[in-house]
């Protein structure tokens, strides 16, 4: 019953979307984009960051005069709730003016909303949804975040170059953690190295010392880790507590200034890949960081707002290329053609699945700062 009703609504929404195309193309009013993101609730801080980033990107784009009409973004609060996310997606696809959507924050909500965008045939670009299956849902889904399929391979090569052959791997017990281990381990073996230890832990584990002791017994040359900054800080502090000195490598998920704040000196010498560093010397990064600081009273932007900033800019570029025929289909096609986009999170292209291929940067923690390695 519910299914059939949903299907009907989907079909209606799809039909409305198709009907909207000619009108949207002819209108001389502003071009509208939808942005669904959590503005309240537990994850509100992320959504608020995305909104600020999007506003910065939008202001610059409209000031540049690349196209004759202004672009506007309609923000809707999904509260990181899948039901809300679907409702917003329906609202966006029903709104004839909207040509494409950005968001959502979490993979769960993005994937729920993706079903609506897929049926209504409207492009959806998420700045953060990193679930392996998200971009595969249909040709309408895109993301501006690297997946472990890319980072794991990159890190395996990096460690191989450093002559690190025997590697211990630990990661959190989630879909994401599994992908950290899988893609990395395959490449290590391919490079002639050996994964001597693999273990998963529950997110939020307070005490890593038993695992660390176990890792030490396996005598690896280095440890590769799939954790976020809180677990990362605990792990690094307890490594130091146990006086164990084995180099630790990690993914961009660990990149957060809070990691250094929580772990202090224990974070020194952590190696990781990042796509965005606020202290980078590049002009466009400086410009974004300055504008962000002006909007946020001096605070530095993290990786997620930077990804949102790039996602919005990628979308705006696609709109500009599609202009004057800004239909949903055209925006999607132009989005798919994105190649070597010079974003603040690295040079970005989309592959045939809508996956972002980014240039990754090697970084380490020195003196309480994340600094790029040459």
């Amino acid at each position: 019953m519910t299914m059939s009703r949903r299907t009907t609504i989907g079909l209606l929404a799809g039909a409305a979307g198709m009907l909207a195309v000619p009108f949207g193309a002819m209108a001389e009013g502003p071009v509208y984009l939808g942005y669904q993101l959590p503005l309240t609730g537990n994850t509100a801080q992320y959504g608020q960051d995305f909104k600020t980033a999007a506003e910065i990107a939008l202001k610059d784009f409209n000031a540049s005069g690349k196209i004759k009409v202004p672009v506007e973004i309609i923000f809707e609060d999904s509260r990181s709730d899948a039901k809300e996310g679907v409702a917003i997606a329906r609202k966006f696809v029903d709104d004839d003016r909207i040509v494409a959507a950005l968001g959502d924050f979490t993979s769960t909500v993005s994937m729920a909303a993706a079903q609506v965008y897929k049926r209504a045939e409207m492009a959806q670009l998420s700045q953060t949804a990193s679930h392996p299956d998200f971009a595969k849902i249909s040709e309408w889904q895109f993301r501006n975040i690297t997946t472990q399929a890319q980072e794991g391979v990159y890190n395996a090569d990096w460690m191989n170059e450093q002559g690190l052959k025997k590697i211990a791997v630990i990661a959190e017990q989630t879909d994401w953690g599994q992908s950290v281990v899988k893609d990395f381990a395959e490449k290590v073996e391919a490079n002639g190295g050996e994964v001597v230890f693999t273990e998963f832990f529950n997110r939020g584990l307070p005490d890593f010392r038993s695992i660390i002791t176990k890792i030490e017994r396996a005598k690896p040359d280095a440890i590769y880790t799939g954790f976020f900054y809180e677990d990362g800080a605990q792990f690094l502090k307890q490594m130091q507590q146990l006086n164990i000195d084995i180099p630790v490598y990690s993914t961009s998920a660990a990149y957060n200034q809070k990691l250094v704040e929580l772990a202090g000196p224990a974070a020194e010498g952590l190696f990781l890949t990042v796509t965005f560093l606020p202290n980078s010397e590049t002009d466009h990064v400086k410009k974004f960081v300055d504008e962000w600081k002006a909007a946020r009273g001096g605070a530095e932007p993290g990786q997620f707002p930077a990804q949102a900033y790039d996602a919005v800019n990628i979308m705006l570029e696609a709109v500009a290329r599609a202009y004057p025929d800004v239909s949903r289909q055209n925006v999607r096609d132009e989005l798919a053609k994105t190649k070597d986009f010079p974003g603040v999170t690295g040079v970005t292209s989309f592959d045939e699945n809508g996956e972002a291929l980014k240039q990754l940067t090697k970084a380490t923690v020195t003196g309480g700062q994340f600094v790029p390695l040459k």
């Binding site: 307070p206 005490d207 038993s210 695992i211 002791t213 176990k214 809180e230 502090k237 202090g264």
Partner: protein, 304 residues
């Protein structure tokens, strides 16, 4: 010669066990008097930790001053908790109400409610993430003892546990307050009939138990450098298991059970993935309930 690996795991296990014991002491004390679980003990622990780190952030006092601030906050939290969640269910003093299981067990719900309210309030106030703590205050400086490494926090927690346990045993055995606590714990109605002020005794038990809970919170918070609103949940579960294994109302029993639990968890990580280490606690709980319903150290006694 034992493999140093196992020695290190054993050391980690004992230090884990002491962390659980620290919480289990106050938890068991409160259970012993009322015969109901105080679900809000985990939040008293969290409040203690937050009070401590707020004091550190505000004026960076020496360690002992923090301990006293935390004890005061814990006492206040215990007093308020008793007033809000437990006292209302003792307002009828007739024999039927006093003997009623339903009246007593209603406090399970009210303490659970208080714990949810307190946790959510802290999440609204501070956010659910780890709080930043001045690294200099953390008690995790490594000390090498031959093949094993411990940290200064292990020594502090050990000393505090011993002091708590010893002090509590002395208090219960040799002081007037202790005598009335034991009397109320043994038979509240009888205690009331012989003229013991049971309300006052219960309030005092909460104050003492919560002071210990709050102190445990800040010590463990500084030990791991992890203070966040839901930090009390997992130690609360472990303390509960330790209490049941120890025989519900035996404080030394709970401490020994907590140590056994810690060592078992740490050694089990050697053989199974750490994801399963948490299962050890639940397995112990089930085995205890099935084969030793009185707990490992619980004396047989008539319940009121």
């Amino acid at each position: 010669m034992i493999d140093p690996y196992y020695l290190q795991q054993l050391t980690i296990g004992i230090s884990l066990g002491m962390v659980y014991a620290l919480m289990a002491i106050g938890f068991t004390l409160i259970f012993g008097v009322l015969n109901v679980v105080n679900f809000a003990h985990g939040e008293v622990y969290t409040i203690g930790a937050f009070a401590g780190i707020m004091a550190i952030a505000a004026f960076g006092p020496p360690f002992l001053v923090i301990v006293f601030i935390v004890l005061a906050v814990g006492a206040l939290a215990g007093f308020s908790l008793e007033r809000v969640a437990f006292r209302p269910f003792r307002r009828f003093s007739d024999e039927a109400s006093l003997k009623s299981r339903a009246m007593r067990e209603a406090t399970l719900m009210s303490s659970l409610a208080m714990s949810i309210i307190a946790r959510e309030a802290m999440e609204l106030l501070f956010g659910s993430e780890f709080q930043t703590i001045d690294i200099g205050y953390l008690i995790n400086k490594p000390i090498s003892l031959g093949p094993v490494t411990i940290v200064n926090g292990d020594i502090i927690i050990f000393v505090v546990s011993v002091l708590m346990l010893g002090g509590l045993q002395w208090l219960l055995k040799y002081s007037a307050i202790g005598l009335s606590i034991r009397a109320v714990s043994n038979n509240p109605l009888g205690a009331k009939y012989v003229g013991i002020n049971t309300d006052r005794t219960i309030v005092l038990t909460f104050v003492i138990g919560s002071m210990m809970g709050a102190l445990a919170g800040i010590l463990v918070g500084l030990y791991y450098g992890a203070v966040f609103p839901s930090m009390g949940f997992i130690p609360g579960v472990k303390a509960f298991v330790a209490m049941v294994m120890g025989g519900l109302s035996s404080i030394p029993g709970a401490v020994i059970a907590a140590l056994v639990l810690g060592v078992a968890e740490s050694l089990s990580t050697t053989f199974v993935s750490s994801v399963w280490a948490d299962m050890v606690a639940y397995l112990f709980l089930i085995v205890t309930l099935v084969f030793f319903p009185q707990g490992l150290f619980g004396a047989r006694r008539e319940r009121v």
